[in-house]
Symmetry: C2
Amino acid sequence: MKTVFDTLGGDKGCANVVRGALRSLDKHDDLSVVFVGDENEINGVLKEEGRLGDSRIEVVHAPEVVTGEDRPTDAIRLKKDSSMIRSISILRTDESVNALVSTGATGTLTAAATLRIGRIRGIRRPALCPILPTMNGGIVGICDSGANVDVTPEMLLQFACLGSVYLETAFGIERPRVALLNVGTESEKGDGLRKAAYPLLKEEKTINFVGNMESRDLLSGKYDLIVCDGFSGNVLAKSTEGAAMLLLKRIKSDIMKKTTYKVGAMFLKKMFMEEKEFMNYQNYGGSVLLGCEKIIVKGHGSSNEKAVEVCSEQAYRMYKNGLLDKVSERAESCLASEEEK
Amino acid sequence: MKTVFDTLGGDKGCANVVRGALRSLDKHDDLSVVFVGDENEINGVLKEEGRLGDSRIEVVHAPEVVTGEDRPTDAIRLKKDSSMIRSISILRTDESVNALVSTGATGTLTAAATLRIGRIRGIRRPALCPILPTMNGGIVGICDSGANVDVTPEMLLQFACLGSVYLETAFGIERPRVALLNVGTESEKGDGLRKAAYPLLKEEKTINFVGNMESRDLLSGKYDLIVCDGFSGNVLAKSTEGAAMLLLKRIKSDIMKKTTYKVGAMFLKKMFMEEKEFMNYQNYGGSVLLGCEKIIVKGHGSSNEKAVEVCSEQAYRMYKNGLLDKVSERAESCLASEEEK
């Protein structure tokens, strides 16, 4: 198993990515890594960590950075020496490389991967699937969360199949409960897209479709996978994250206003820290771009060392559990009807 | 000013609606009300409150209830004696009635109002606009939040105009900062709908368009009005509410786990209660159905007395400040180009 790490583009810099990857490397004898980015910077970190010359570590110099401001098409065309585009090239051309972890710009990563890395046969469009924690201690996936903003009912069916295989393979969830994001739970709810997708999902035997879900129930623990177009999936994931983080921030600032509050907060410090960690969905893994012929994990831009480690572990687990083969197999059954059209 | 109250359909029952309305009635000498629902039940509450025979109060018997399970088209056709459909009829036919407050099923209310109450000239489709609190103590409106799930770029422009007039008239916000809900802040982001709506919003001189907004910034206080299709608006409003409420619930259950936490929470009790009230967006008013020829306020299903009072006050304020005339005026300029098509 060999994973390439795009070391630039995250908010916390190269050292953070390298150290997170090393943590993961130390766990598995059969893992090796390629660090792509500013060679001097990477080697500096490796020296500090006493890992220069490690036979399981390669370094590739590509110091340019793709940012969120770059238009994906421009970045792909003009920033060939960027860590992200070079990482994609390595993933594409080096057959010994199985996976990519990046904390860089989602738009360019998704576009470059879709264009450059082949899709698994039968898959129309790769989809992004982030993982969020649920209130009862479980997780829930959202597919698609932004790779495809304009979608068809058939694509929603594919997202359901892709996400189901992913949750089974990477998290051992058997027969994930799949729900369609909608404006109400009744079967006839929604816009034209949802109304057309509902019967397709209901008829598909290889998935465990449980009906429509209202967005307020996302974290309820009643569902394992939420199927949606990339636009509303993006709104769902980011507003949930945003609301929780802002509420914690408000509580923090409230506490500073009164001495009695400060005293109370001392007793609750551990609880608040645990809640903050709980809501920090980096801890649960990156967003996986499903449907490509290689494993691609997009970590949050603000990923810390631990979050990078989690992304790497996630990639390792998916590879070892044969995610790509399983998606191919499923594509034969679940998605076959699709291809016939 | 006369307001009709649909007393059934909310989670907390008729008495709650009647008492909330009475609170508002007591504030304004020029306000009168019509209570529609179960006559006996309404009169029972009025008797308890010592208000039987009050010349400013009318009671209309229509005891059937429209629920969230009813299909809107069926409810409109078959439940003519329901409090909601009868309230709409009164609003339509009685020229002395200016406004309707209901805490019942949103789908049926929206559909019945759209069908039965005329639209203001130039308005294609009425839109729902709920109000949420922002982190810095302000408010933000979301238009549309679910009345229209399939929309055009021109409709998004109308939502921007309608919402702007509403925030100016009901809340005194001058030149509301309007943002388009999108998957990123850059101008070229989004699906076909957003890409087509962006230039329309940018060119429209009567609104203060400030660009795209990512959903995580909804509560940041940087925007006064978020423009979106009803599908993603519904996702945005409900996931924000859901995440905040679930987080508070988790904190509450965490606190019960340890004695030290319980002690700390005693010091913070007031703060937690304030935060809960802060996040409870009922306190900021109901969702207004904008674009109809009369004022329609949809309160949250779980509205308590205070929330009903707030909805009634909101309707009163909009009427007194001439919302409907202002929408008509604006329709002449902002929406004129629309009608020409």
